[in-house]
Symmetry: C2
Subunit: 525 residues, 2 copies
């Protein structure tokens, strides 16, 4: 029942949503008497996605939900027992049964803030065994959420602030929860709405949608609606047979457009009338089921003008194929001419909605100066992040028993930075972030205006800068979304550009650099 | 409580996991008096993914689970009411409250069978309103499952039948359910096991895993285990201090390898000893935390030889960086030399497990003749399908009220095939599929040996072939997996090859072709 009452809980990750090696390592730690050693892990990524110089941090609220509910049930422990050695000490399983995250502390970048390579999105500390078990679910919850938020932010930067962006990729997502995650975090990243109803119900994302080709093709034109009458918008006066009224308008529209009155498909018109009867105040037409120019557009105009006579205003048309920009320009011309011809000025500003495999390049074209497109629906390319479908987040041990730890592999890219750390965003005089600085947690907090010596990664000598701290409480989804846009607006143009950007620096404090040097040289810290 | 008792139910999609336009169209149908019109939709894809000539059908069992549980709860209906026009007739919401899928029929390709463009994976018939509502969740459940199964099948074809393939991409998936779906369907597609424990618990996928770098770096070497003693494998005789025994072996191993005994990292060795104490019969070493040659390999050999003295056999080593093929060859040489030197023949055949961003190209190299790699762990490139992260599945209305329907858009790629159809796989004399044929459901079932005239899409004239029917009941996941491999083995080499394959034909029966022609010409069927 709890799951029914709290629909969010159903979507939450579960403790066994983890890699088996987390459980085998848990047994290893337990057997070595180290299950409760104090440990700290950092979750970060090594390179910004999509060839850009920024990412947005997201997924924190899912992590918090997961950690609060973390508890192995009897069936979970029994399953682990079935895949671990049969002679495993039963006391280990008793230890697992008693686990929760009450001793786990998580520090995090606020949802929607800018994130850069090497700077922890999460810093997770607590008993070694349990914080190890958390690795996979936390990566699973943070990596894709941050990736899709970043992807959405890029698309918003390309679209500019005016165009409305609708996420409609549920059918392309990696299963149900992939879809819910995509809808939530593309909104956080800057989209205006989603087609995903569940994201509206569970996460408060604004939902939007109209009609598909199947609705149009389902009508032949010979159907007889049970109630063809529509009352005027003002509520006064007798109802009107909308289909008959649209038929009258069709003749005028066809004459105006130079079309034969038989050309527009009667089934499409019947579908538009049916939709208008259900949504007289929100009528939209999908124009490209048969032929935009010879059927969809005249049918739309006939129904829209019939509605207009009753005091209603149609709100939009949608195109899902062909050259979307070009068609939008021509449709707007038709709207303007019809608005003048039939003296209905509102027709000029009917929204033009487009969709059909829109990627960054296509979006740039649709968003160019003078484009008549108003709303852009994006599915596959926001949800699946085809330019780079994974963030490559990692979760690395940085301290255990109060001692810093470092992976010193021969692959320098895979080396880690040791020790429990604090991160600071250093701002320039214009308020834009200059660089992030990582320092050891025990170092004094830097002060604004104070000169600091810092080490860019791999540098031979330090440079100097002035810091400002960033630290915010966990905000709501809408606040995170606002923070995302605010953060992006503060990023300098050379870091914000999406191709070949200037790389944003993440630098080390002198003491952290000294610790790295000493561990690399094999000295105890 | 139901959700707790049936853990599968928690992962199932829910009715509101749909695009809003399905709900707005539902209202449109209802207002037009057409909610209960008999309708049929087909779910199919238009192009095979990844540049290949085949796909595997998957996700059907998730669809069945979803359809069985389909029911709008009060909270769902209330949410829909909040996003639909405020003056919507309350009787519409009563209709929604009463909906279920008891009148919906689904015909499907069996899980794991070959699927080709235009051939329906699902044929869904029932009342128009409800089968329209099912579009998005069914696409969401089928498209990614089929995509990842196909991706896994490609990787299996590249790896050949001998190499063991481990899916380990949970942390790269699109959230929790993306990970569960990926693990389930990469197993169906031909992987041997998954790191995802939940996939083992809920879906019966074999799980596998050992240890991560964090386990190794968490040990400094100064830790004192509460019980350092290990009993012999046979259970007879006194226990032995494994760490002390490994230290003795280390000297012999270092002398054999020409290394100083101080070179191997003591923390790494302590981690291996801790792991071996927990898993004496399944000891594996992760070799590249510090240095494979100067630390990981000698530490592994010391612990493996100490275990060997007690009658245990180490099972494997893992490499996660560097040139994996080259290192595997050299490690095998070291194993052979050490097996001879220390007279432990089993050491020769210790498994070499590799991982680290392995894609199709890297896999081909690792699977080449003479490779000493035994197990290959693949994460990102199986789970996220970076070559093509979505299948592009569509769900199209083909009949309503017994009448065929067709989308006649000006974009020929987006045209649909009208009418309720049956699909047959036509086999050649060697048993391999020649082509699939779509015909109208009312046409007589073709007989083996009988000559048929069929129409390749866009052809000017028909060709002739001999058919054989394929029709199987819903199998278990393991059976589907076997079917997937069997199906692939029967596909001819020119269709099976992964790059620039010969395209597999999907052809139309004469009557279906005639119906297409008549609808294109604007004639009533």
């Amino acid at each position: 029942m709890a799951a029914e009452q709290d629909p969010e809980a159903r979507a939450a990750a579960r403790p066994l949503l983890t890699d088996l090696y987390q459980a085998t390592m848990a047994l290893g730690y337990w057997r070595a008497g180290r299950a409760r050693d104090a440990a700290e892990f950092e979750l970060f990524f090594r390179r910004c996605p999509f060839g850009g110089a920024f990412a947005l941090a997201a997924g924190l609220r899912d992590c918090v939900r997961f950690l609060r509910a973390f508890r192995l049930r009897d069936a979970d422990v029994q399953f682990l027992a079935s895949v671990l050695p049969p002679d495993t000490d039963p006391a280990f399983f008793e230890h697992l049964r008693a686990l929760d995250c009450s001793e786990v502390t998580v520090r995090a970048l606020p949802e929607g803030s800018l994130a850069f390579p090497g700077v922890p999105l999460l810093q997770v500390s607590g008993p070694l065994l349990v914080v190890q078990l958390l690795e996979t679910p936390l990566l699973c919850l943070v990596s894709y959420a941050s990736l899709v938020a970043t992807n959405a932010a890029r698309l918003r930067l390309i679209a500019g602030p005016e165009k409305r962006l609708l996420e409609m990729g549920l059918r392309r997502a990696q299963g149900p929860d992939g879809g819910l995650t995509a809808s939530t975090y593309s909104y956080l990243g800057g989209f205006d709405s989603s087609s995903n109803v569940l994201a509206g119900q569970l996460r408060g994302v604004p939902v939007a949608g109209t009609l598909a080709h199947s609705f149009v093709t389902s009508f032949s034109g010979s159907e007889v609606p049970p109630d063809p009458m529509l009352a005027p918008a003002a509520g006064e006066g007798p109802g009107v047979d909308l289909a008959a009224k649209a038929q009258v308008w069709l003749e005028q529209v066809c004459a105006h457009l130079g079309l034969g009155v038989q050309e527009p498909h009667p089934g499409e018109r019947a579908a538009f009338v049916a939709y208008a009867l259900a949504f007289p105040r929100a009528f939209q037409g999908l124009l490209d089921t048969y032929s935009v120019w010879r059927s969809g557009l005249p049918n739309f105009l006939a129904v829209a003008l019939a509605l207009g006579e009753l005091g209603y205003r149609a709100v939009g048309v949608r195109l899902d194929s062909g050259d979307l920009l070009q068609q939008a320009q021509e449709i707007r011309k038709v709207f303007r001419a019809a608005a003048a011809q039939f003296q209905v000025p509102w027709l000029e500003s009917v929204l033009i909605v487009v969709s059909n495999n829109i990627d960054e390049e296509a979006l740039a074209r649709l968003a160019q100066e003078g484009s008549e497109v108003n709303v852009i629906g994006i599915g596959t390319s926001v949800v699946t992040c085809p330019q780079q479908p994974s963030l490559g987040g990692v979760y690395k041990l940085v301290a255990v028993g109060g001692q810093p730890r470092m992976k010193l592999t021969e692959d320098p890219e895979k080396q880690t930075l040791p020790g429990s750390k604090a991160a600071f965003r250093l701002l320039g005089s214009d308020g834009s972030p200059l660089m992030d600085m990582l320092q050891l947690a025990e170092e004094p907090v830097p002060q604004a205006g104070q000169e600091l010596r810092v080490w860019p990664p791999g540098a031979q000598e330090p440079c100097t800068v002035r810091p400002a701290q960033l630290c915010e409480p966990l905000p709501s989804l809408a606040e995170s979304r606002a923070l995302a846009q605010l953060s992006l607006s503060r990023l300098s143009p050379e870091h914000r550009r999406l191709r070949s950007p200037a790389q944003y620096q993440v630098v080390l404090s002198e003491r952290l650099q000294a610790l790295v040097n000493s561990l690399c040289a094999g000295q105890s810290p």
